[in-house]
Subunit: 380 residues, 4 copies
C-alpha cells in the first residue's frame, strides 16, 4: 500500500538567497516519489511564507520555525513523513534532534553538524530514535561513482595502492565574504560553519568519495590547512596525506582558491592492475586504464556497467544525467528505505550515506585540524 | 494569482514500456510549476490504471482513453490545464485536435504528426483554437544551445558560411525491431511512425537545432535516405545537403546505424570570423574558435554567457545539468506562456518551439523523401 | 652493404618562404637513414645558394635548377640516390619526368601533378622507368592510422557501412592571397595549383586517408565546390558524397574557410559492429566504439596495437610523436624500398603511397570538378 | 662563418637495448644543425661498432670507450664539437669530467649525476672549465611549457598560490627489473641509478618543470618515498609537499606504479586570477582558466602565444609536434649557445637547463630522501 501515494517532505531552510534548498526540492521530487508539502524556509515567518508561495505549497504549511512545523505537522493526518535539513551547519544538530525526538525521519545536508562533538551527540540521538537518517553526499549518487565502487569491490583493478582525490573550486579566490554574498558569508564564519572552512564544506565530500568508492577506511592523516586569502577566518585550501586501511596511500586536495576551477571534484584510484578516473564535471563516463590493453571509457546506462550503476540510471546512453539526478538518487534510496522501514523496520541501504558517514566526515575535519596544529600525523 | 498553484497536466501515452512518457513527467515537474494529475497512459484501461499507480496519481484520473480524459477533466473544477502528447507519431494529430477543440492547450512530443498533410491540418486547428501549443525539441532547452543561438544573432561569429549538424546513433545497427523491443518496433513501422524512419525520429531534431541556433531557414535540400539494415521498412541513415536562407551551406547527417554512437547530436557553425561547436553528450560547454585568438570554452551558468543562456541555468558552474533539465526548460517556458496567455493572451515566447517548428519539421521529412526519390535538389 | 651509408637526397624546391621543403628535410633525415646533400631550392641561383647555406650543405651542391642538379649529381660518385619534389603543383610533372628519365627515383609532394592528364603521363613515365616513386600523403604515416587500417582489414569493426572524413582549416577565411602571403598565393592561382584549390590541396588528403584506412575504393561521387571568399579563383570549400566499392557511403568535407579550425583532418569509419574515430590534431590515440562494450582508446606504441602500427612507433607510450614523425615514416619506407629495390628490384611496400595513389588523387579532383559542373553523380 | 657547417656530436652510451641514445640522436640532428659523427656507444667495443653501423657513422669513429673517443677525436681536424652523455646515472660524472677537462662541451641526460655530492663536484668542474654544459630536461622544450613560463613571468595569472605537478607512470607496477628488461634493471639498482628510484628518474623532471614554469624556487619540502612493489630496492612512488620561494604551496606526485598511466607529466599552476593546465601527453595546447571569462585553450604556433613559445615552433598550427621536437629545442639552444660561445664566450641562454638545474635536481633527490627518513620538513 505504501506505493499508493507520494511521501510528504517538510524542508528546514531553503529560503531566499539559499542555493541548496531549491536543489533539495528538485532532487526530492524528481522521481515522483516525494512531494514537498511544508517548510520552515526561514527564521523570518514572512520570508518563509514568501518562499512557500514561490514553491507553490499550501500557505498554511509555510512555517516560521522548525519547531512550529514539527508540532503542527504532527497533528495533521497528512503530515510530513520526513524532514530535510538545508540550513547552515551550526543548526543541523538541534533541528535533527528535534525531528528525531518527535519521531520524524531526517534527510540532512552535509556536513552533518558543525563540530565533531555534535556529531557524536547526533549519533546517539539517531541510534536511540531508530529512525531513518540520510546524509546528502550528492556525488555518491552518480551512476559512474557507483560503477567505480562496484569495480573496486569486485577486485577489477586489483588491490588498491594509491588514491588521489581532489575537490578544487576557485570561487573564493577573492574575499567574497565581505561583499555580502550570502553563500560565502556563512561559510567563512566559524560560528556558523564550524571550525572547518574549505575542509568542512568540500573536503568532506572528497573524503567521503574516497571511502565510498574504494571501500577502504582512512586510518591516519596528516593535514595542512591554509587561509590563503588574507584575513579569512577559516581555511580555504587543504592538503591531506592519508593512510588507508589496506596500507595504501591517499592524497586529498581541496581548495576554494584554485582560480579558474568550477566544481572540480575528481578521483583517481590506482590498483595493482588498473586505475579508475572519474570527474564530476563530466560525470557520465568512467575511465578505466589497464597496464595491458586499451583504455576503457564506460558510459552511463550501458549494459556492461555493474548492477549498482545500472540501477540508478533513468535515461538511455547518451542522454546526460547531472547533479540533480545524482542528488535524486539519494532521495530515491531514502524513499525506498522509508517505505521499507515503515513496513518491516528495514535497515539502511548500503549505498546511501547515513549516520556512519556523518560521524566519519566530522572526524575527518577534526583530525585534519588537529594535525594541522602540530604538523604531525594523527590516528583517525 | 496564477502563481499560487501549480499547473495541472494530463498525459496521453507514457504507459508501460514507454521511455518518453516518464521523461515528460520528470521534465514537466522539475521546476515545481507543473504537476501531473491525470493521464490516459495506455489504450488499455488496465494498463493505464497501473501506470497511474506507478506515477502515484489519483486512481480516478487514470483514464482508458484521451477522449475520456478530456471529457472528464473538463467537468472537474481542478481539471487539467493542458495535455502532453507522448504517443507514437500517427496518433499525434487526432489527440492534439481533440484537446485543442476542447479548449485544452497542448504540449506535444515531436515530430508533430506522422505526415506533412497532417501537420498542415494541425496548423489550422492550432490557429483556429488560438491556444498555446508547444513542441518538445528537447535540445533547444540546453543553456549552451541558447548561448550559441544568441552568439549567432549578435553577429559574434560573423555571417554564417557553413553548418555541419549530426545526429548519430548506433542502436539500430541490428534489426532490433524484430526482437520485440517496443521502441524499435513502432519506429520501424511506417504506419505508426510515418514515412520517415531515422529522418523523422532524429533527423528532425538535427534540422530543428540547425535552424534554431543559426536563425536561418533551410530553403532547399538534397537528401539521401538509406535503409542500411536489410529488410528494414524505413530509412535508418540520412544525409542532406542544405541551402540556407543567407546562401550558406548546410550538411546534415543522421543515422541510427552508426555503430558505437550513443546519442550523438552535435553542431558546428562556421562564420566568417569564428566557429561554434556544441555536442549534446557533453552539453555544459560551448567551444568558440576564432581565426585569431585562443579557443574559448564557455561554461554553463557563467556570468559571461548571453542573457538567454543564463536565464535557463538552475545550478552554479561546474554542477552539470543534463537532458531532463533541458527538457524542463521547455516546460518552464510553456508554463510561463500558459500563465501569461491566460492573463493577457500573450504570444508564444520566441525561444519555445511551437507550431512553426512543427510545420517546418514535417516539411523537412517530406522534402527529404521527395529529393531521395529523384536524387535532385528540391525547394523547401 | 646497403646499410653502411645513408641514402643521399637532393631536393627540388624548399627555398626561402617555403614551408614544406624544410619539413621534407626533417622528415627524410629523422630516422638517420637519409641525408640531404644537394638541392635546387629555388629557380634563382642566389636564393638556392642561400637556402643551401641555411641547410648547411656543401655550397657546390646548391644548384640553380633541377636540370643542373640532375646533370651534375649524375657525374659524382657520391651523387644523389633520389630526389624529393617540394615545389608547387604545376612543376611536379616536368621535374619527376626529368629525374625518372635520368634514372633517379622520386619522392614527391602531393598532389602528384596539377591535372589529371598530367598524372596519366606521369604514370606512364613511372611504369617505363621502373624506379621507386613515392607520394607523401603524410597522414598515412601516423601509427594510429596504420592501426585503423589494420583493424578494418581484419574485420574488427565488421563490414563498413559509412565513412565520414573531414579536412577543415580556417586559414583562408579571408583573402590571404592578396596580402602577398606566399603559401596562399600559389594555391589560389589555378595556373600553378591546377584547377582544384581546396579540393586539390587538402581534399586529396582526405580522399587518400579514406581509401587508405578502409581499403575500399571510391566508385562514384557527387561533389560541390564553392569559392566562398568573394573573388577567389579556386574553390575553398568542398563537399562530396561518395559511393564505396562495397556499397557503403562516404561523406567528405574539405574546407579552408572553416573559421577557427587549424589542421582538422579527421575520420570516422562505421562498421556493422563498431566504429573507429581518429583525428590528426591528437594523433596518438584511436577511439574504437563498439555497439556492446566500453569505448576503447588505443594508444600509440602499445603492445596491443596491430603489427603495422607497432612497426612505425619510435618511442614508448605516452611520448607523443607528431607530424614530422608521420612524415618520416614514409621516408623510412621509401628508404627501405630503395635499398631493397637496388638489391633485388623489390616491389613497392603496400603501406607507402605511390603512383596508384597519385593517379587516384588526381582522378578525385577531376571527378569532383566534373560533378560540380552538372550537380550530378559521376563514375570514378 | 660558424653557420657554414653542422656541429659534430659524439655520443657516450646509446648502444643496443638503450632507449634514450637513439632519442638523443634524432633530437640533436632534427634541426639540421648537428650531426652525430662519433660515439662510444657501449663499453664493449664490438657492441659499439655494431651500434655505429646501425647509426651509419664512419666505422673508425665508433669507439670502445669514452676516453678513447675523447683522445682520438681531439686529434682530428674534424673532431667532435661536443659530447652527449646518454648512459646510466652513475657514469655521468666521470664522463662529463673527462670531456670538460679535455675542453669538450657537454650535453648530459638527467639526472646530472648519481648523488648530490657528485653534482657538487661536477659543478666545480663546469665552473672551472668555463664550457657549455646543458641538461636535457626534455619537457622544458615544449612550446606550451615555454608559453606557461612566459605567462607566469608576465603576471598573467597573478601571484602564484598553489602548484600541483605530477609525473605518473604505470610501467613498474610489476617487478619488471627481475625479468631482464634493461631499462627497468638499471633504474632499480641503487649502485647505478643512485639512491633515488622514481624520485630520481622522473621526480626530478616534475621538480624541474615546476621551477621552470613558475620561476619560483622550492625552499623546503616534506617527502614520502615508498617502494610499493615488494622487494624493490629503490622507491617507486613519491609524494612531496613543497614550500615555494614566494610562500606558495607545491604538491608533487611521482609514481611508477600508477597502473594504466603512460607518461603522465602534468602541471597545474594556480594564481590569484587564473590557472594554467598543461599535460605532456597532449602537449600542443595549454589551458588557461580565469575566475572571470571563458577558459582559453592556447594552441602551439598561434600568433597570440608569447614570443618564447613562438620561437620554438617549427610547424603551423594543427600540425602536432611531440617529444622529439621538444627534445630538439634543447639541442638547438645548445647549438646556438655553442656557436655563440665560440664566437664571443656568450653566457648560457636562460631557457636552456644547465648546471644550476643539475645541482637543484640532485638536491631535490637528496632532500626528499632525507625528509623521508624522519617524516619532517627539510630546508632546501
Amino acid at each position: 500500500m505504501a506505493e499508493s501515494r507520494k511521501l510528504r517532505m517538510g524542508m528546514v531552510g531553503g529560503g531566499p538567497g539559499a542555493f541548496i534548498g531549491a536543489v533539495h526540492r528538485v532532487a526530492a521530487e524528481l522521481d515522483g516519489r516525494i512531494e514537498m508539502v511544508a517548510g520552515a524556509f526561514s527564521s523570518s515567518p514572512e520570508k518563509s511564507k514568501a518562499a512557500g508561495a514561490s514553491y507553490r505549497i499550501d500557505p498554511a504549511r509555510a512555517y516560521g520555525s522548525y519547531d512550529e512545523m514539527i508540532a503542527k505537522e504532527k497533528q495533521r493526518e497528512d503530515g510530513i513523513d520526513f524532514i530535510v535539513i538545508a540550513t547552515p551547519n551550526s543548526t543541523h544538530l538541534p533541528i535533527a534532534k528535534a525531528a528525531l525526538e518527535a519521531g520524524i525521519p531526517v534527510m540532512s545536508d552535509k556536513p552533518a553538524t558543525a563540530t565533531y562533538d555534535e556529531v557524536l551527540e547526533l549519533e546517539k540521538v539517531v541510534m536511540k530514535a531508530g529512525l531513518p537518517y540520510g546524509l546528502t553526499h550528492t556525488y555518491a549518487g552518480y551512476a559512474l561513482v557507483r560503477d567505480a565502487r562496484a569495480l573496486c569491490a569486485a577486485g577489477e583493478i586489483g588491490p588498491i595502492r594509491k588514491v588521489v582525490v581532489e575537490y578544487l573550486q576557485g570561487w573564493l579566490s577573492d574575499k567574497l565574504e565581505e561583499t555580502g554574498q550570502k553563500q560565502a558569508s556563512w561559510r567563512a564564519d566559524p560560528k556558523i560553519s564550524g571550525p572547518g572552512g574549505c575542509i568542512g564544506d568540500i573536503g568532506t565530500h572528497a573524503f567521503h568519495l574516497l571511502e565510498y568508492i574504494t571501500g577502504l577506511d582512512v586510518t591516519a592523516l596528516q593535514g595542512t590547512l591554509r587561509s590563503v586569502v588574507e584575513g579569512r577566518r577559516v581555511d580555504d585550501d587543504c592538503t591531506a596525506l592519508l593512510k588507508l586501511s589496506n596500507g595504501a596511500q591517499g592524497i586529498l586536495l581541496a581548495s576554494q582558491i584554485a582560480a579558474g576551477e568550477g566544481n572540480g571534484i575528481r578521483i583517481r584510484v590506482y590498483g595493482e592492475k588498473a586505475s579508475l578516473h572519474w570527474q564530476q564535471e563530466n560525470p557520465n563516463t568512467l575511465l578505466l586504464r589497464r597496464n595491458t590493453g586499451p583504455d576503457e571509457t564506460r558510459h552511463a546506462s550501458a549494459g556492461y556497467l555493474s548492477a549498482d550503476a545500472r540501477a540508478v540510471a533513468r535515461l538511455p546512453g547518451g542522454h546526460p544525467e547531472g547533479y540533480f539526478e545524482a542528488f535524486a538518487v539519494l532521495y530515491r534510496e531514502f524513499a525506498d528505505w522509508l517505505e521499507a522501514w515503515r513496513a518491516t523496520k528495514a535497515e539502511a541501504p548500503a549505498t546511501l550515506p547515513g549516520i556512519r558517514a556523518a560521524v566519519r566526515g566530522m572526524r575527518f575535519i577534526d583530525r585534519a585540524i588537529e594535525s594541522n596544529k602540530t604538523g604531525n600525523w594523527v590516528e583517525f
